[in-house]
């Protein structure tokens, strides 16, 4: 039984006083526990790690530490990547559309996960249009863009109570100017975390 194996390992780790490994293993899924189990023997063959050797905890403990660290490093890297992604808070659109561009999706997922993990965090979703066309239609277009982003965040884990949308239409351009480069930067949605 997987559960049994898991518990055995858990008990063993505990008995060895590996507090560091404790919470991590306890939190992992059963498959991870199996993986850890096989990793133990594999690393064990190395005859204990030079890094962690020198005490009496044996190869098992040092291999557990290594795995733990590897996972933590991975988690840290992933988190760093997510955080780096979350530095991006502006999303651009084509003229007269509210279609989220494919390259924005991963970043928006990162924002959605962050909101899911931080239920007290609110976000204001501000929709904008470029100066072309009419002001009132652009207000509606900015709202449509903000709504598209809001839906995406909610589908990916944010909750409705965390989000608020407002459209400024063409009133708050990011850059001044009347050329395609300025327009492209002004057709956008900005996330403002509050």
């Amino acid at each position: 039984m997987k559960v049994t194996a898991h518990h055995k390992l858990f008990a063993m780790v505990l008995s060895l006083g590996l507090i560091a490994g404790c919470s991590s293993i306890g939190d992992t899924t059963e498959d991870d526990a199996y993986g850890a189990d096989s990793d133990v023997s594999a690393v064990d063959q190395d005859g204990g790690s030079t890094v962690y050797g020198g005490d009496d905890e044996g190869g098992v403990s040092s291999s557990e530490m290594t795995e733990e660290q590897r996972r933590e490093a991975e988690a840290r890297a992933e988190q760093a990547e997510r955080e780096a992604m979350r530095d991006i808070t502006t999303f651009y659109f084509d003229f007269d559309t509210a279609e989220i561009k494919p390259e924005a999706r991963d970043v928006l997922v990162a924002h959605a996960r962050y909101l899911q993990a931080n239920p007290d965090q609110d976000v204001r979703i501000e929709g904008h249009a470029d100066e072309r066309g009419t002001k009132e239609y652009n207000l509606a277009l900015g709202e449509r863009r903000a709504n598209a982003i809001e839906r995406f965040l909610i589908v990916n884990g944010a909750s409705r109570g965390q989000t608020e949308t407002v459209s400024y239409g063409e009133e708050k351009p990011a850059v001044m100017g009347s050329d395609e480069s300025a327009w492209a930067q002004n057709r956008r949605v900005e996330l403002v975390f509050q």
Binding site: D96, G133, T134, Y137, L139, A140, L141, R144
Partner: protein, 441 residues
Amino acid sequence: MTNRTKTGTGLPRAAMAWLLMIAVMVAGTPASAELLIRITEGADSAIPVAVVPFSESGNLPSGDKVSSIVRDDLTMSGEFRPLPPEKMLSLPSEGAEVYFRDWRLLGQRYVLVGQLERKGDRIEARYELFDVNREQRIMGATASSSINSARSLAHHISDKVYEAITGVPGAFSTKLAYITLQRSGGQSVYRLQVSDVDGKRARVRLESDEPILSPAWSPDGRKLAYVSFETGKPAIYIHELASGDRTRIADFPGLNSAPAFSHDGRSLLMTLSKDGNAEIYKMDIQSGSLKRLTNHWSIDTEPVWDHTGEGFFFTSDRSGGPQIYHKTSENAAPRRITFGSRYNARPRPDNDGEYVYYVHQRDSSFHIARTNLQTEEETVLTRTGSDESPSVSPNGRMVIYATKKGGNSVLTVIAADGGAAYSLPSSEGEVRDPAWSPIVR
């Protein structure tokens, strides 16, 4: 209302009364940023008219002369070509002094003469209009204004002359509402202003560092509805001009935008998105009750009543891009009006149901165009390229719109058939979102 938004309070009650028998103008907020008028084109068919300097008696205020304001008004319409006074052979001030032969020699079709007289704290004008070819007096009248309102007196005379010659009421005594925008650094200052149609006597009615949009006149010319972001979100306000009193009338979640008064002034068309996406509603102003008039997943916005007051025009992108639609009644099926290009928006009909004017994209430029509602023929009226916000004069003869000039937004007035034009650049920042007031009698 936040402390960042200021209303123009203490404004003269008279500022909104077009009639001549108005109270003394009290200087409230100093006239800010008068729009400078520049006539850019004249129509070839302009009618030659001689406006002879009026004779004066009594102690009259200095400043712009009534007759020169009349001359400017007529020039501004694009339909007249006033004779410069220095070319006149004589300067009559009453009918008995008019020698038709002189004026015929100068190629004039009409001659206006008059006298100004101070009577207490008022100015009285007696004026007469003559048809040179027929050698006939076609109008004679008296009008007066308070001593400080010579401009109102002049615009009134212009209206009468215009109507006597064209058969259509003049619109020189009407007002313009518009928004000015100054950006410096990261700061923006929006000002809702009301001025004469020639850009003079501008007064700030509301100032905010958040956007103000879409001013719309009540049919009695006493109120403006508009959209203000002063709370951080768009809401619709009704602003009584004489008192400065304001009511936030629509502040639902989402959009609250594009207000338009009904003909009886009792209700407003508006765009709300409280039920999911931008739809058009009618709100009874007294009770606040709402009736939803459109129901479609697309954007429906920019509603405006048609000339009957029963049906309305609006913009919808239900076909894929924004186009103009018309409903003959609140519950009728919408009929698409525009087909000429992929972007047609923000309809504004004239008062007799003949044309609807709107923003029209052709290639990469935005122009003002109109469609004849009977023949469905579309005409592009402007040669400028970033045109927005058309508003039709209440006599249907002129259209004002916002366009770009040297990177700044300016107002331009054109003849409704696309002929003559004049522009009203602001001395400070951008001018946008013009709304031409109704004629108030």
